[in-house]
């Protein structure tokens, strides 16, 4: 390497050094300072970017970055001070516009300055951890302009005033508002929040506090909600127009709190227009609005739900305990269904099908339906009514709808086994009297019950259907084999019922007329011939008969009567007058049944084929009965029903209850044994809890009863008490 070359290096090496003297820095800074002034004075077109950049670059390169930076801060600050005072000088409404204009200018200047000082921005500033030029510009603007004493409060006041004016319906310059709030946001979220949002929220809270007071005094609930809703939407719209999107949650929160949360209770309970009235008047729109608004505040929906629940419970309780209603079970159940429909509609259309509301509704229904211990009976009666006649000429879908609704009520029942009892009775009556409208509907309901409560719940009901079917086959076989022998006698139709499947009633025999007895004997022989080892007993209390009778004027009628009535009437084939005692002796029908059947034969107008002496409503043991020769009827066929109340009489009811209680015992015991078999050792309270849980789908067992059953099991040595802890039970065997 030659020395000359090194020399060349040397000269070059100090090329920069030559210009690096304090004066150089001073001079260069003067140029740049001048440029910054020019930029702020809109005279930039005379400046050469290339030259300025080069100057700034050289300053930083030669370690005058600090000087450049501090110079920039000072110059910018002084300019901003000027701007600040010019904004302060702006009058009234021009203030915001001036501020906005200056801000735009400052932004532009800032960008140009940043471009000139780009080299400093890229190298010097990151290395020395200073604020980048753009951010510096924002910070200075914030500190010098926005936070200057005269501007800060004024800006705030004007912004809030504008919002207030807009709230009271005036039109304001939204574009300007938008630019100003955007400026605050650009200066950093904290500036926007501290200088505007915080106060905005406070003022809004005051505003809505007053307004809501005013509204609540002057408006009814629906109207108030309408206004609140409108205010809420206004605020949301305001945010979208000229506020930070993050403010939306905050301002809506304020409105919600002031307009709704604070008046929540008063609104819901407002007289003549509160929640209850809305429900009564079925104001779906208002209810929907209430739901939407209350959903926004904590506990809002809970309140609505609670009020609704208690209202439903009260009205439901009135309904189920109203003695007037209890007179007609069908009507009673229909009312329940209507009530349910109504609330369902409210929940779907106004409460957007909220699950919690549905649950509340269900629990309320469950609550009041079980208040009336006769609900299971009534529901069964309702079904009975529907399946007897109510469903004639109705399409299959509609049948399904009705059945589904019934099932819904059924689900609310706690004592499902009581329902089963009644249903079985009613079904038996329907089947035996052949009054079922639609086999399909019957079966469909059974299937529904099965899916709801399981196989064992319906196995007996299904057994009844099977019995009906086999009976038909048996009768066909009987007629086929004996057809010729019995052609001239009365026609016999027998249903063979399996004991246990059907509602058991104490077997009360009566003396059948001889004509019948013969053919019955034939059937018995036929049946036992084909099925050995079985026992047949006649359930005379459940049969019917068709009699052909000729009355005094040669009038012929066909009488449709029960078996008991048939026995009584057959007596009159031989004599015209019999006393009560004679009838009782001849037929051996149990006294209550006999009285009832005589009542229906003698005391019902239009169907009085017998005449009673003396004429009175009730049957006494001393009465005499005559064949009524003068009987007339418009119809050829006369159906003589037994005067049997559809609803059970009080003693019957008691009896059913008794039976249900009896039936529950083995179930409870079975449950206890099942549980103990699995657990081996368990204390009393847990057993009660588990038994209740297991049997819930059928009925609610009484703890006292459970205790009794446990004691009984201990007696029978299924369980024993623990020797040390008397509360513990052990499973034996």
């Amino acid at each position: 390497m030659s020395a000359q070359k090194k020399k060349a290096f040397q000269i070059e090496a100090f090329k920069h050094r030559v210009v690096v003297d304090p004066k150089y820095a001073e001079k260069t800074w003067k140029i740049l300072e001048h440029a910054i002034h020019e930029i702020y004075n809109h005279n930039a077109s005379g400046l050469s970017f290339e030259e300025l950049y080069r100057n700034a670059y050289n300053m930083v390169l030669h370690k005058f970055g600090e000087k450049l930076y501090s110079g920039l801060v000072a110059t910018m600050t002084s300019h901003l001070n000027e701007i600040s005072s010019s904004i302060e000088a702006a009058q009234g409404g021009l203030f915001l516009e001036e501020l906005n204009r200056k801000w735009a200018e400052h932004n532009k200047a800032m960008q140009m300055i940043r471009d000139i000082l780009m080299y400093m921005d890229r190298t010097f500033i990151p290395n020395t951890h200073k604020t980048p030029v753009h951010e510096l510009g924002l910070n200075l603007w914030r500190d010098v302009v926005i936070h200057s004493y005269a501007i800060q409060s004024r800006l705030q006041a004007i912004l809030l005033e504008n919002v207030r004016r807009e709230r009271s319906g005036e039109v304001i310059d939204r574009g300007l508002m938008r630019s100003i709030t955007k400026m605050l946001m650009d200066l950093g979220p904290s500036v926007y929040q501290d200088d505007f949002e915080k106060h905005f929220l406070e003022v809004s809270a005051d505003f809505y506090h007053l307004e809501s007071q005013e509204f609540i005094e002057s408006c009814d609930c629906g109207e108030y909600l309408k206004k609140a809703d409108r205010r809420l939407n206004e605020e949301i719209e305001r945010v979208s127009h000229y506020l930070d999107a993050r403010s939306e949650a905050k301002i809506t929160n304020v409105v919600e709190k002031e307009m709704i949360e604070n008046h929540m209770h008063r609104l819901v309970q407002m007289e003549n227009s509160g929640l209850v009235n809305m429900i009564v008047d079925e104001k779906y729109e208002d209810l929907g609005r209430m739901y939407c608004l209350f959903r926004r505040v904590p506990n809002g929906l809970v309140l609505v739900r609670d009020v609704m629940t208690s209202y439903i419970r009260d009205t439901g309780k009135q309904l189920v305990t109203d003695p007037e209603r209890l007179k007609d079970p069908v009507d009673f159940v229909q009312h329940l269904l209507d009530l349910k429909d109504k609330y369902d509609k409210i929940i779907t259309s106004a409460f957007s099908n909220d699950k919690t509301f549905q649950n509340a509704l269900n629990s309320s229904f469950e609550y009041f339906i079980n208040l009336n211990s006769r609900s299971p009976e009534f529901i069964s009666l309702f079904v009975d009514d529907k399946l007897r006649k109510g469903l004639r000429g109705v399409t299959e879908e509609d049948v399904e709808v009705v059945l589904d609704k019934v099932m819904m009520l059924f689900r609310y029942l706690q004592e499902k086994d009581v329902f089963e009892k009644y249903y079985k009775q009613h079904l038996a009556k329907r089947l035996l009297s052949g009054k079922t409208v639609s086999e399909d509907a019957e079966r469909s309901l059974i299937v529904k019950l099965k899916t709801e409560c399981g196989y064992q719940f319906t196995s007996k009901l299904e057994g009844m259907f099977t019995d009906m079917k086999t009976s038909q086959d048996t009768m066909q076989g009987f007629h086929a084999s004996h057809g010729a022998n019995i052609a001239e006698g009365p026609t016999l139709s027998v249903h063979v019922l399996t004991t246990g499947s059907w509602p058991t009633q104490s077997i009360t025999t009566c003396n059948l007329p001889a004509e019948i007895l013969g053919i019955c004997e034939k059937f018995r022989n036929y049946y036992l011939g084909t099925h050995t080892g079985r026992r047949l007993s006649w359930q005379t209390n459940m049969g019917t008969a068709d009699l052909k009778a000729t009355f005094g004027k040669g009038q012929k009628h066909e009488l449709n009567v029960s078996t008991y009535q048939m026995c009584v009437l057959m007596l009159f084939n031989n004599v015209d007058q019999l006393s009560y005692k004679e009838i009782e002796q001849a037929t051996e029908i149990p006294a209550p049944d006999l009285k009832r059947c005589l009542q229906s034969l003698a005391c019902v107008k239009g169907k009085n084929v017998l005449r009673k002496e003396p004429m009175s409503k009730d049957i006494a043991d001393t009465d005499n009965f005559l064949f009524n020769d003068n009987f007339t009827s418009k119809f050829f066929k006369v159906k003589i029903g037994t005067v049997a109340a559809q609803r059970e009489s009080e003693p019957e009811n008691q009896e059913t209850r008794q039976r249900v209680e009896e039936d529950r015992k083995p179930q409870i015991e079975a449950a206890i044994v099942r549980i103990m078999k699995a657990r081996r050792v368990l204390d009393h309270n847990n057993i009660v809890a588990e038994v209740t849980k297991q049997l819930q789908s059928r009925f609610l067992p009484n703890p006292v009863v459970i205790k009794k059953r446990i004691e009984s099991l201990i007696e029978r040595e299924f369980l024993e008490r623990d020797k040390s802890d008397r509360k513990l039970y052990r499973y034996l065997a």
């Binding site: 070359k5 290096f9 050469s48 970017f49 670059y57 471009d115 080299y119």
Partner: protein, 585 residues
């Protein structure tokens, strides 16, 4: 003393693997004559490094259809695998090769490595990266990326938030294509440089059009998008389903080498299903191609280099025609467009009496300075004269030589630097700093470094000053090391002593100095620290006593420096005496 972490590891420190994982536990076979596949399979890192440095295609497949990375993963050579990955081996799970590598990975460590690189593919070169950012910052182009990332494809969007409308990379496009109703924004010069078809079109039919609508239904948007993206970034990422369309487009565009590779790959993909190790959803399957797979003359730098050559030739022609350019320019202010058809230049830069015809998009993509100058100059003097539409805009750059500028634009176009004279290095550093072309500094430093081994202490001092000023860490470290290791030699040099005077004094505050021996250099701020502090640190490393005595050593060094400075002061006051006094090397 613990050694500072090697740069090799520091750039991967977020991979969850220990350094010890990368060293083989058993001695490995050497394959001195093996190809890249053998070297990968054997884990012969030295051979592999040699091969990669000599420029073999890292993603090539052998006769068994396997890539080198596959073998490295299969054999579990973590170090070899990483070397391949760092050199651009493809490991995306959605590609055929990547899928195989993931599947074949010997153990979890290999898989972890693959995962780490999948999330961060080999970085593009500065040129490719810059152009790619420019391409993706065009609003119309971003839509496809967003959509693609949503549907599970992964173009790596780096450096800017995809939602910010005005990203700092934005440079306005000069042509928009509408394909199947969707826009793609692009810059003419890039397309022309990469495809003869576009070049011809831009010279003829589309000369004055800013918007080109393709009405043919067959032309597929994703395929064309992939291709144009490839033009900018030298990295092709295309869904396998779109490859046939892409081949057709390549045919039209006369991108022959790319077309050949794609056709070959297409045949391969046809059978790939049989070879694939597990089912990959077809619509997700990708094909990724690195520029490295193409012949050198078809890669981005070469293409732009050709354009640059044409532009330079035109520039010199104009210069020779226009001898009185100095006199004329104030009046003309811009060049006539009529004779500039070939180079598609859209800007003239005048430097030191020479005029360079350049392309705005390249300048703007590479240098933030030029971007600002080209896009935001309306307010300043330069933007004042509204130029007639048939002339090229015109810039003037002062304060640097035409030669340096030429080198610089060469670097801007090609990422390469040829025949740089060490004499030019300083000026290049200056240009690199001034135009915010930081990678250029490194490139120049690489050229300069071998030269520094032979220079005198005086010169070294000079370079130290320069590198400190321009922030060229590589040179600065080198010089400091040299001085620290040969401190006494330097202490005898008057230039060194003179230099000491010009430097800011070392931080005398002993609290800043390390007293905790376990953390040497903990206080060193690597970037803009005090030179003498750094020097002391280096000196302590080389000469200083261990542990407890470190502080004493440091004090010793400080005293020595003070002494030297006193000497220097004396020399300064007697300039004649100092001159040439110690000038012996």
């Amino acid at each position: 003393m613990p050694s500072p972490p090697s740069p090799y590891f520091s750039e991967l420190d977020d991979i969850d693997l220990d350094a010890s994982d990368f060293t083989a536990s058993v001695p490995l076979k050497k394959v001195p004559n093996g190809d890249i596949f053998e070297a990968s399979r054997a884990g012969d890192v030295d051979r592999l490094r040699y091969l990669l440095e000599s420029g073999v295609n890292v993603n090539a497949r052998d006769n068994w259809d396997s890539v080198a990375l596959y073998y490295a993963c299969l054999a579990g050579h973590l170090d070899a695998a990483r070397m391949l990955l760092e050199n651009g081996a493809i490991c995306s799970e959605h590609t055929f090769d990547g899928d195989r590598c993931h599947y074949a990975a010997l153990n979890l460590k290999v898989r972890k490595l693959l995962k780490a690189f999948e999330a961060r593919p080999p970085p593009l070169g500065p040129l490719q990266g810059a152009l790619r950012d420019t391409f993706l910052s065009c609003e119309a182009n971003r839509g496809f990326i967003d959509q693609a990332t949503e549907s599970g494809l992964h173009f790596q969007v780096s450096g800017f938030a995809s939602n910010g409308a005005s990203s700092s990379y934005y440079f306005p496009p000069d042509v928009v294509f509408f394909v199947q109703g969707r826009p793609i924004e692009a810059h003419r010069v890039i397309l022309s440089s990469r495809s003869p078809f576009f070049r011809r079109k831009f010279e003829t039919d589309w000369k004055d059009r800013n918007e080109v609508r393709f009405s043919r239904e067959k032309l597929s948007y994703p395929a064309l998008y992939s291709l144009i993206h490839f033009f900018y970034s030298d990295r092709l990422e295309v869904a396998v389903d779109d490859m046939e369309d892409l081949v057709r487009i390549c045919k039209v565009c006369k991108c022959e080498s790319l077309q050949r590779i794609l056709e070959k790959e297409l045949i391969h993909q046809k059978y790939a299903e049989y070879k694939a190790l597990r089912d990959v959803d077809n619509s997700q399957k990708r094909f990724i191609l690195q520029g490295l797979s193409l012949p050198e003359e078809d890669r981005l730098p070469a293409s732009l280099h050709r354009i640059l050559q044409i532009s330079l030739a035109q520039s010199s022609k104009e210069n020779s025609l226009d001898i009185g350019v100095d006199r004329l320019l104030p009046h003309v202010g811009a060049m006539q467009l009529s004779d500039s058809l070939d180079d598609l230049a859209d800007i003239c830069v005048r430097v030191d009496k020479r005029i360079f015809r350049c392309h705005q998009v390249v300048l703007a993509s590479r240098s933030e300075y030029f971007k600002t100058r080209l896009t935001r100059m309306k307010e300043f003097h330069e933007g004042k004269d509204a130029l007639p539409s048939d002339t090229l805009p015109y810039l003037e750059e002062r304060g640097l030589s035409a030669e340096a500028f030429e080198k610089m634009i060469e670097y801007m176009y090609t990422d390469g630097l040829t025949d740089i004279d060490p004499d030019q290095a300083e000026e290049m550093f200056d240009a690199a700093s001034r135009y915010l072309l930081f990678p250029l500094k490194r490139a120049v430093a690489d050229v300069l470094l071998p030269h520094l081994e032979m220079v005198s202490p005086a010169e070294l001092c000079h370079w130290l000053m320069l590198s400190d000023m321009y922030g060229v860490l590589k040179i600065r470290d080198y010089c400091l090391d040299m001085i620290a290791c040969n401190f006494e030699t330097f202490a005898d040099t008057c230039e060194f002593r003179a230099m000491l005077l010009t430097l800011p004094p070392p931080s005398g505050d002993s609290s800043l100095r390390t007293t905790v021996p376990s953390a040497p250099g903990a206080v060193i701020n690597t970037d803009q620290a005090n030179l003498l502090d750094d020097l002391r640190e280096k000196w302590l490393e080389a000469e200083g006593a261990e542990l407890d005595e470190r502080d004493e050593s440091a004090l010793l060094f400080d005293k020595r420096l003070e002494m030297l400075m006193v000497v220097a002061e004396q020399e300064k006051s007697l300039p004649s005496a100092a001159d040439g006094h110690d000038y012996v090397t």
